[in-house]
């Protein structure tokens, strides 16, 4: 029989420590929607998404009521659109983004991911058209998220794509200037992108995936912080053990809810992403976990080590709790979505360089970081190049979601609201990287990619 203490612990994690299921994401293959006529292709895409996902939100809401655990988001990821749109005889892919947006609205999800291209080794014609459409697509749609994979450990870094993405991030910011560059919050540049990630904005339904699956992502920084506070003053082994146990419990929720959702929607269950995803709410912060470990502010010396311990312990606990772990599966350190990170930046404890170092030991990268609107496309491209190099060399996923906020300078704030939060504009290095990023071509795959 369950003890009253155990039951109380679960209730406390949900009610007071913000434990929730961050997302139930339905992955849908659109590979059978390709058509030479763009109108027919779009109709097939709309019909398929609305047919498969029409009960997604209702099932999520039912599970939330029955289990008494909040399910914050219900979302959809689709086949990277460049692969589907390529068959259509059209120069402009914005219509595909509008179609995704309409389908997402029709089924009531807040984000749909997969306006994406995989260009780590080179571009097809369809990839180029998709990239060209990104700024307009993100400016004109509400729910569509775009992502581009520019590097893998196996293929190296496509520096032409990195340079192109620097320009696209910049243009996307400018096109959404009246909303502080919000479009950039829906655009991720990846290295080693996972194909089953349920988290936005980088979610898409990979080419090796089934017709339709359910993936889930959990969130529990508050619960982990509470566990860390309980073992204050103990040694690192004890600390790691406490985090592992909490991560196990959190992930079990994701597994249970994901399996229940998959069963009710009659689609296979994919994976649980065991990432620790913060929200802007106080007490739901990854930075506060690091601070609870004994750092005065996140970003000071020791932060990388603390994050490494946290990330590893979360994975160990999470891996034991789920049959299929996938996606990004690590601690997220988005600045705008984490109240502790924002405070650390405001207090001068956390810089862009330290964030870059921290991404070496966690998922997923430089995430939701606002930089001055005057930052050049070349500098943005160079920041992307640094970050994907970390991923390529360390055989892990890294990503960049930068917001060059038009008209904003260091010390200003950008305001997105909701889960996307608010971000202090951070300084970038003033020296030029122009000649480097414009060289063109590919950075070859590292020697350890030759494993066969």
């Amino acid at each position: 029989m369950l003890t009253i203490q155990e039951m109380f612990e679960t209730i406390k994690m949900v009610q007071r420590e913000h434990l929730d299921i961050r997302t139930i994401t339905m992955g849908i293959s659109l590979r059978d929607c390709a058509h030479s006529d763009v109108k027919i292709a779009c109709q097939k895409i709309y019909d398929k998404i609305t047919r498969l996902a029409n009960k997604l939100v209702a099932v999520g809401d039912d599970l939330e009521r029955e289990f008494g655990i909040p399910i914050v988001n219900k979302r959809i990821s689709v086949t990277p659109l460049a692969l589907v749109a390529e068959a259509s005889e059209t120069e402009c892919y914005v219509e595909f983004a509008r179609t995704l947006d309409r389908a997402a609205e029709a089924v009531g999800v807040n984000f749909i991911g997969g306006f994406s291209a995989l260009v780590h080794k080179g571009f097809t014609n369809g990839d180029l058209k998709l990239l060209a459409a990104i700024p307009q697509a993100l400016a004109e749609t509400e729910r569509v998220c775009a992502s581009v994979n520019v590097a893998t450990t196996k293929a190296g870094i496509n520096m032409d794509a990195v340079w192109r993405m620097g320009q696209i991030v910049k243009e996307t910011g400018e096109r959404t200037a009246e909303r502080d560059g919000l479009g950039c919050a829906k655009l991720v540049v990846f290295a080693n992108v996972p194909e089953d990630n349920p988290f936005m904005a980088g979610a898409f339904h990979g080419v090796g995936e089934a017709e339709c699956v359910i993936n889930t992502g959990v969130s529990g920084p508050g619960a982990v912080r509470s566990a860390v506070e309980k073992v204050a003053g103990t040694d690192f082994g004890t600390l790691s053990e406490a985090i592992k146990k909490t991560a196990f419990k959190i992930t079990r929720m994701g597994e249970l809810v994901g399996r229940a959702a998959a069963e009710r929607l009659q689609v296979p269950f994919g994976i649980v992403d065991v990432s620790l995803a913060p929200t802007p709410k106080v007490g739901d912060s990854v930075a506060e976990i690091l601070e609870a470990m004994g750092l005065e502010r996140c970003g000071t010396h020791g932060s990388t080590a603390a994050l490494a311990l946290l990330n590893d312990a979360v994975k160990k606990g999470g891996a034991m709790a789920s049959s299929y772990v996938g996606g990004l599966s690590g601690a997220f350190i988005p600045v705008s979505e984490d109240a502790g990170m924002i405070r650390a930046v405001e207090d001068g404890a956390l810089t862009l360089d330290k964030l870059e170092a921290m991404t070496c030991v966690c998922s997923v990268g430089l995430d939701m970081i606002a930089v001055p609107g005057s930052t050049s496309a070349e500098t943005i491209a160079a920041i992307i190049a640094d970050e994907v190099a970390i991923g390529v060399i360390n055989q892990k996923t890294t990503a960049v979601r930068l917001i060059p906020a038009p008209g904003k300078n260091v010390g200003d704030f950008v305001e997105f609201g909701g889960l996307l939060g608010r971000a202090p504009v951070m300084a970038v290095n003033a020296f030029s990287s122009t000649e480097f990023v414009r060289r063109g071509g590919r950075i070859p795959a590292p020697i350890h990619s030759l494993r066969n």
């Binding site: 109380f8 209730i11 009610q15 029955e66 289990f67 008494g68 079990r252 249970l256």
Partner: protein, 99 residues
């Protein structure tokens, strides 16, 4: 834990009451359950971290109402008594604490 019979798996819920102790809490909650033909299997109460805490395990197998309606009734009673009353599927607790 003691294994429930096949027929009751999936219909068991946990009702939790959190707040300040007062007269009539158990009576109010059990009345709602009895009215709806929901069978109480176990009940315990204690003070945890200064909170009056009551946990009640019940079987909704023969219930006249569904979980959503039960939750509405409990929430309403909770508001009247100044307490937080929740009803949740038992799986969420079992899955978290039992392998």
């Amino acid at each position: 834990m003691s294994e429930a019979s096949e027929t009751t798996i999936g219909s068991r819920i946990i009702v939790s009451v959190l707040g300040h102790d007062r007269v009539g809490i158990i009576a109010a909650v059990t009345n709602i359950l009895a009215e709806s033909n929901i069978n109480i299997l176990d009940i315990s109460q204690t003070i945890i971290q200064e909170f009056f805490t009551m946990m009640l395990i019940a079987d909704m197998g023969n219930s006249k109402i569904d979980l959503a309606e039960l939750k509405d009734r409990l929430t309403k009673t909770g508001e009247e008594l100044g307490l937080r009353i929740e009803a949740q599927h038992e799986d969420i607790f079992r899955y978290m604490h039992r392998i």
